[in-house]
Amino acid sequence: MDLTLHVWRQKGPKDKGKLATYKATDISPDMSFLEMMDVVNEGLIKQGIEPVAFDHDCREGICGTCSQVINGDPHGPQAKTTVCQLHMRQFKDGDEIYIEPWRSRAFPVIRDLVVDRSAMDRLIQAGGYVSVSTGGVPDANAILIPKDDAETAMDAAECIGCGACVAACPNGSAMLFVASKVGQLAKLPQGRAEAARRVCTMTDAMIEEGFGNCSNHYDCEAACPKGISVKFIAQLNREYIMALPKGYKEKE
């Protein structure tokens, strides 16, 4: 099939950027979206045009590197699917496709479709861990974890840290991302001890990094390639309210 692409081109963080139009011809429905981009890029190189820069690595939907807004949707039209797992059979001959980077105050554009998501790493650094050092821990079966709790923790832990939730949110909130980590660790006895402190420090960091507030649009859940549920946001809010009287905010 033949397609027309309108792709965001931006030379650097300070450049204004604009859409450029390229043809993608002879595209097989069995190609992934990124393989289609590879074909277009090889064509550009041959014409002496710099290829479109885009982030990607595993190409199997797990590393969270790929990040493109396709026709207005982060990760494109297919539910629960990253760009790298999106296949061209989701499109039809003659389609026009708009391809843009994640857009959010907290994610400055580096070049073309590549953005800086290091703010998400700093959210984890603010408390998204269990404060355990290597060695000296009890046997893995010493603390039993009910299957349902382990499963719920795993549901939350599936987050791949891609940032689509932020890109989808009208406020640019990272609430779903933070809630998935808070939710996972709060559900497990190993993480429970620090739950109150964690929810406070991570929420504070979210504000500092320039992420917006959550006003319950739920666009995040719709965009999330791992189907992380907004119920974890509700849980985060509960954890936060419970934690406030403990005074972690003042102490930090």
Binding site: K11, G12, S28, D30, S32, L34, E35, D38, E42, I45, K46, I49, E50, P51, A53, D57, C58, R59, E60, G61, I62, C63, G64, T65, Q78, T81, H87, R89, R111, R117, S118, M120, D121, I124, Q125, G128, Y129, V130, S131, V132, T134, G135, V137, P138, A140, N141, I143, L144, I145, K147, A150, M154, A157, E158, I160, G161, Q184, L185, Q190, G191
Partner: protein
Amino acid sequence: MILDGKCPTGPLADKWDNHRQALKLVNPANKRKFKIIVVGTGLAGASAAATLGELGYRVEAFCYQDSPRRAHSIAAQGGINAAKNYPNDGDSIYRLFYDTIKGGDFRAREANVYRLAQISNAIIDQCVAQGVPFARDYAGYLENRSFGGAQVSRTFFARGQTGQQLLLGAYQSLSRQIAAESVKIFPRTEMLDLVLVDGQAKGITVRDLTTGEIRCHAADAVILATGGYVNVFNLSTNAMGCSVTAAWRAHKKGAFFANPCYTQIHPTCIPVSGDHQSKLTLMSESLRNDGRIWVPKKAGDSRLPQNIPENERDYYLERKYPSFGNLAPRDIASRAAKEVCDAGYGIGPGGRGVYLDFGDSIVRLGEDAIRARYGNLFEMYERITDENAYQQPMRIYPAPHYSMGGLWVDYNLQSNIEGLFVLGEANFSDHGANRLGASALMQGLADGYFVIPYTIADYLARTTPGMVSDSHEAFRQSREQVAQQTDRLLSINGRKTASEFHRELGHIMWEQVGMARSASSLSEALKRIPELREEFWLNVRIPGSAQQLNQELEKAGRIADFLEFGELLARDALNREESCGGHFRIEHQTPDGEALRNDADFAHVAAWQYKGADQTPELHKEPLSFENIELAVRSYK
């Protein structure tokens, strides 16, 4: 030169304990004076960097991705082994050790493998303490599954995302150290050279992938945990950015490369769908627990699988290997698939595929049970192929997956260059000629959490901290050399893209150096790789400049290294006149087509020394002695 792995003497079970007692320690107050560079933030690198940071060293950690959490360890699906024996099915440290040695076709060091098995249990404890949500039963205890090459259930898993959960555990520990400022993180930074001062590893030269800046980092020791090299085949289950670059550049600075010909071709991957293919997707080996592998008994049978009656199907693994059946080790299962396809029984596009059928398990256990076990894999399969594997069998075919070879290290994980340590898939140490499923995650974390913190101290304790800074002449030279190579790549301005060269190299490697190798195919590869390399340096086209994010430039640099490394791999394969594990020489097989080892001449590690561009590398041998296990024919029948 005869290489010495420096394995401790004494009884097998006491070696590691005794060795640890003998290792020097760095006093807590002095740790802050030492700076350690860790290149790579996969399981091996992240666990090492976090642990060394906790101990008080100053650590600088590097990765090429935009976040340390994205290292390719994230993609591991199936699970991680440990000798806990929770299911009470006869497992033990010794059995895990024995299975790993046998699985590796008796080409690994006994002492290393025994240590790995000993440490395995502590890894599971550590991960649970970090909040890794492993699968549990209703009583709240950890669950186990079985995996290829083992007759016990010793594999721990977190749905089909075990690597992701283990890596996030390590990444979170690393993040805690970054917050504590004991570790400094440099994402989107690629190591392009190792810097030696007086023969010791004292730093690295990197390119900042965002700005293009080339800069040096000096340290008291360097750890490489930069993953595997099977992207030399172009199409593999590795991520697009996985490369041999860090290891190769260290090799060019003198580090020996061991057993490069030991590559693992994984039996259960989604077959190639066309020329546009950019990577191959693994379908976890755990599927072989409930899926049965077959092809039609009639060559070229074009009926739909559901229309082929039971008695017209050849369940060839069950037929050939009755005791392990569909759980035969990877090398054996892959070769068997290639054989049936070569003989014309293959299915799907180009006859390059075999069926992995869940029909019987669905009847026996119900679709829901299968969904609970493998739902995410079935979804992934459907997204890629548009086929529903609950209704029709999956189509699978082998693909390059893992590199058992890597930089040579001794028992302390130190390379032949003092101060250079190599962990995880990047070293050659524990898997011999073939790796068993669920043991790479175990090795990466063993190296990072529990081995390197002890062994690196022993090295550091013998040195004076902060001896060199990046103003040393060696750093200036390295920086210049890296900048020159970058400029040279950009100035060629030829007519072919870097990816075209990668595809051509991949084609040579897969056809001539893939699953079945012969003296003639390897000689052919040794002729064609240098030709292709020469053409690359005359005809590659890389747009853009060096002072920007330039993904074509990054790619070309990695392919340039593969074009050199591929030759070494082929040379090692030609040199090893035997078949063992993942290395199959068609000249060396039993009458019924099984691998035929040559213990008299090849029970050694082949470690290659770089001798300069276009020079023949020099071979050094480390003899392998088996004091506890008797060398035997590796049978899974």
